[in-house]
Amino acid sequence: MRTHKTIFAITAITALMTGGCAHYRDFQPPAEPETYSETQFLHYLSSVPTVTFAEGCRAMAIAADGSDNYSNHDERYTALRDRDIVRDAWELDAEQSLDVSTMAYMATAICKLRPTVCSTVFGSWGLGDRRYAHKQAAAAQLVPYEPSYKFVTGGELLYTVARVDDHLVKRDGESAQEEINAPSDVAAP
């Protein structure tokens, strides 16, 4: 009996070490997402059941810069890594599914949210950096309160990108005076 337990434990540990929590989606998009324009790509996300890391990087690159200035995932990843929006330590493949905490880390990095003590101390070591970022992003209402390991749907990614866009627009100085509340707020055509 003890032997069986040992064998099971070794098998489980080996499986976790080799495969980890990696997940690859079954969904096949009707066309290669890289061929979509920015607006097309954003609206394509609303129909995706699970987004990949590459799609998440592209969406966040559009959110950060307002436009996608890169031709492929490698260029995009390098640019985002240089801006500390993604990290090499995650070792995520382009086709790997994106989870909530990774999306939250990218969102908080783009918005430059004020880090907490725990995220500064432990996150700098790579220990729980995405989980702390998820807490920050949820508190800033960039992402919903969900399990950090949950894989992101296209709709959730689109919503988060829109919230990031709102945050950046406010930060960049477009004040609430531009809010449209009544016809008097709009100049006559």
Binding site: Q40, S46, G155, E156, I180, A182, P189
Partner: protein
């Protein structure tokens, strides 16, 4: 007998106003709303007349081209124009990427989506999609019965209906996902705006600053009202409805709960730590001594926006003279201090923070001595504030 007719008419009108709320718009293949024909068929002829669109005389006119004839037309003439086309909305502002397509177009189809520009006119059954940092402002109707709709970033929307009746101006929008904001000014006509989505419906009654935001595929939504009027939020998933007053919002999470819960958890809580309070903040806090900021869910500004400070609470505070009546307090060192009453937003830290900023006007307002008169023991350095605050609480 007249009472029975009145009841029947009231029931029919209530039915007409309720059923359109139930119509929903699908995300990508938004179809034309089918809720209206049954309504008109199931009601009396008089009600049918009130729901027919106005003639094309004003349909092709720009928004600012007021057509006085349309207001002066008798009801029978208006009702006779049943076969005329619906009105068109005018695009008054474009920012970023805004594209339109015919009804039923795929949101990712590159062939059918065409960019629009300011001054374009959009009729019903037109889909609108926006990119990031983009928005499109549509103006419905003519002065003084104008309604403005702002289709915000990353949104898929649709104009389902725009018609004018002798009594009201009907606008029906579909929202697949994203956000729509707007408002209307009611003049001679009643503004009837309904924004449908798969998860929630917003019905507006002459309001300013309403907004509906729908998260794609998750069922989460948020319906809010910023300035004035009244909005009715309806959750299509749970079939629950809620009237949203200025300063309030309804989401999929709180639509079934009491508003008092929302007020408690959204209360504006401020922490007057020395690191957190700027000089401007401190001046504001010192001058705004009504304490009303603690009563509104969004702070004093929202409290005023909602109009509730015009009510009995603020008036009662002023009438009773309790707003600024002084109260004697004992400082931690045992010295008495006179403080204007009604300011229950200050924590103990504030008394310690004040000497560091060294503003005589603040100290004078609060009835305190300036720093030069404070004993040396009370002149604390910032790194000792926490210890002092703790001792004062004990």
């Amino acid at each position: 007998m007249p009472n029975i007719r009145v009841k029947q008419l009231a029931t029919a009108i209530a039915f007409v106003s309720m059923v359109p709320l139930m119509s929903m718009v699908t995300v990508a293949n938004a179809q034309q709303s089918t809720s209206q024909p049954p309504v008109t068929q199931s009601n009396s002829g008089a009600i049918q007349k009130t729901m027919t669109p106005v003639g094309t005389a004003s349909a092709s006119n720009p928004v600012n081209n007021v057509n006085p004839k349309s207001k002066a037309l008798p009801q029978a003439t208006l009702a006779a124009n049943t076969n005329s086309g619906s009105l068109k909305a005018t695009v008054v502002e474009i920012k970023g990427t805004v594209e339109t397509a015919p009804d039923g177009a795929d949101a990712t189809d590159p062939e059918v989506w065409k960019p629009i520009k300011e001054g374009d006119q959009l009729g019903k059954n037109v889909m609108i999609r926006t990119g990031l940092r983009s928005r499109c402002v549509l103006m419905f109707g003519e002065e003084p019965n104008q309604t403005v709709i702002s289709v915000r970033r990353a949104t898929l929307a649709r104009i389902s209906e725009f018609a004018k009746t002798p009594n009201e101006q009907r606008i029906r929008m579909g929202l697949g996902y994203g956000a729509i904001r707007g408002g209307s000014s009611e003049g001679t006509l009643r503004s009837d705006v309904v924004i449908n989505s798969t998860v929630a419906t917003l019905a507006k009654r002459g309001t300013e600053g309403f907004e509906i935001e729908v998260e794609p595929t998750t069922g989460r939504f948020r319906i809010s009202l910023a300035q004035s009027g009244l909005v009715e939020a309806l959750s299509n998933l749970s079939n629950q409805r809620r009237s949203v007053a200025p300063g309030q919002y309804a989401t999929n999470g709180n639509i079934a709960k009491m508003w008092v819960n929302q007020d408690i958890f959204d209360r504006c809580v401020r922490f007057y730590e020395s690191e957190a309070v700027s000089e401007t903040d401190l001046n504001f806090i010192a001058r705004e001594t009504t304490g009303l900021s603690n009563l509104g869910p969004g702070g004093r500004g929202l409290f005023e926006t909602s109009g509730r400070n015009l009510g009995s609470i603020a008036q009662a505070l002023q009438d009773n003279g309790s707003n600024n009546s002084p109260t004697t307090l004992l400082l931690p060192d045992g010295l008495p201090s006179v403080r204007p009453e009604g300011n229950f937003g200050f924590g103990p830290t504030f008394r310690v923070v004040t000497p560091h900023f060294e503003r005589p006007n603040v100290n004078r307002m609060l009835g305190r001595r300036t720093r030069t008169h404070v004993p040396r023991s009370a002149s604390l350095r910032p790194n000792r504030l926490t210890r002092h605050r703790s001792s004062s609480r004990r």
